[in-house]
Amino acid sequence: MTDDPVLTVTGLAKAYGRRVACRDVSFELWPGEVLAVVGESGSGKTTLLNCLGGLVPPDAGRVRFRRRSGEVIDLVAASEALRRAILRAEWGFVRQNPRDGLRFGVSAGANVGEPLMAIGGRHYGHIRGSASEWLDAVEIDPARMDDLPSSFSGGMQQRLQIARNLVTHPAIVLMDEPTGGLDVSVQARLLDLIRRLVREAGVAAIVVTHDLGVARLLADRMLVMRQGCVVEAGLTDQLLDDPQHAYTQLLVSSVLTV
């Protein structure tokens, strides 16, 4: 079972007019694995994630996803109804800005409960119970579940987003700069939490980041992107300790060590 990749991306490409954002990106993702996508600003990381997450239609390529049932679906070719149903039930997407990933008009509990209601949960008590458990899992006091997300700190909002995305037990979680905009100590705790939850839940994750430290801590494997292309791919430690591509060498050597 785990010998088959849960996600196989081949030849993914996306251009905005004449500006190429992603060119011929191919990779595989195995169940329970964390893959980091690193690169400088404008290298196409976020476009790649948005193509996978169904926010942007890719121009070319295939995104084959193995469902829980074992069935393999090409998300690019699938009907919009099926694609959205799969993304809703079996994927999660933690957005860079919590305002994109949360509903700020409703309480934290409703935010965590919404994915459950979207896949057919109709029992208030059960929904509330799961929401409470997941808030606890991401270290938010369940007593605050009826508070609005706007009353939460940036780190809490990000953790709330994570709870909202894991509550349906997805097979894959996409994370776009999950620690962006947070101060260093909060970042460290959040990374710890993500690492623990991803391991416990056994979900596969694709984490986009420009921070090599985040990649080092979280990821099993890495893709290095530059100008829309994957220039290097490999095991995180191997790649960071012995970068082969000139750009990766530059990236690794640019990290400040304190």
């Binding site: 409703v106 409703a110 919404e114 209601m117 029992h123 009826d146």
Partner: protein, 293 residues
Amino acid sequence: MTADGYNFGYLDEQTKRMIRRAILKGVAIPGYQVPFGSREMPLPYGWGTGGIQITAAVIGPGDTLKVIDQGADDTTNAVSIRNFFVRMCDVATTERTAEASIIQTRHRIPERKLAPGQILVYQVPIPEPLRWLEPRETETRKMHALREYGVMHVKLYEDISVKGRVSTAYDYPVLVNGRYIMRPSPIPKFDTPKMHRMAALQLFGAGREKRIYAVPPYTDVVPLDFEDHPFTIETWDQACALCGATTSFLDEVILDDRGRRMFVCSDTDFCQERREAGHRGDGGPNPLEEAAE
């Protein structure tokens, strides 16, 4: 005779045909909002332009029209719309629910069970049930198309967690024919169960928003709820002070500035019929007696 220079029913025949096509499409797809070319009417948006256009498109010389506003036949909106159709169509009008072939309504469904062949026309201010949850019209249409209605329950969840119960008391969202979620126009939730498998044809017109939708006779109309927080309707611990009814929707009437009030049926025809049949309420507190003290 209708007013000089005007077509029967005010609208020109091409417009009526356009509206009838939209109605037929709406009937074919219960609960689906059909866009239509809403016309300028001789009254402002929000005063029932959608309902009037539907009535004008379906009314014929042999019809008997009843118009109610908040259940009453004698309120400004109801009287004005009824007069409008008398001038434009010279049709018979009635205040009796049973005698009407077309009933245009704002905010209520008559208490008397409607019969096959009757048409109930609703005036709709905002047709889109997803509006406050998803402001993008392109996105709400997609959500309807793909039946992505999970977010509707978020609102109910929020009501229960904040207020302990579902506080939506009017325009309660319903699932029509197991497919589309629909706003039933601002009727109290007391009236929502009456829509379920109703024998009459229900037509909904939103003039400003340019949408028509319909519920054909005997169609399932189910209010949204949670398994452990089922849908409930309003109840009163009083009876109607005029007719003694305990099963109708009651309006609270404030009698003075000392907190005295009475409850009376909001459906004036229902109340009248009961009184003619000999039913009597307790009359409520007598405002003249108290004022004399």
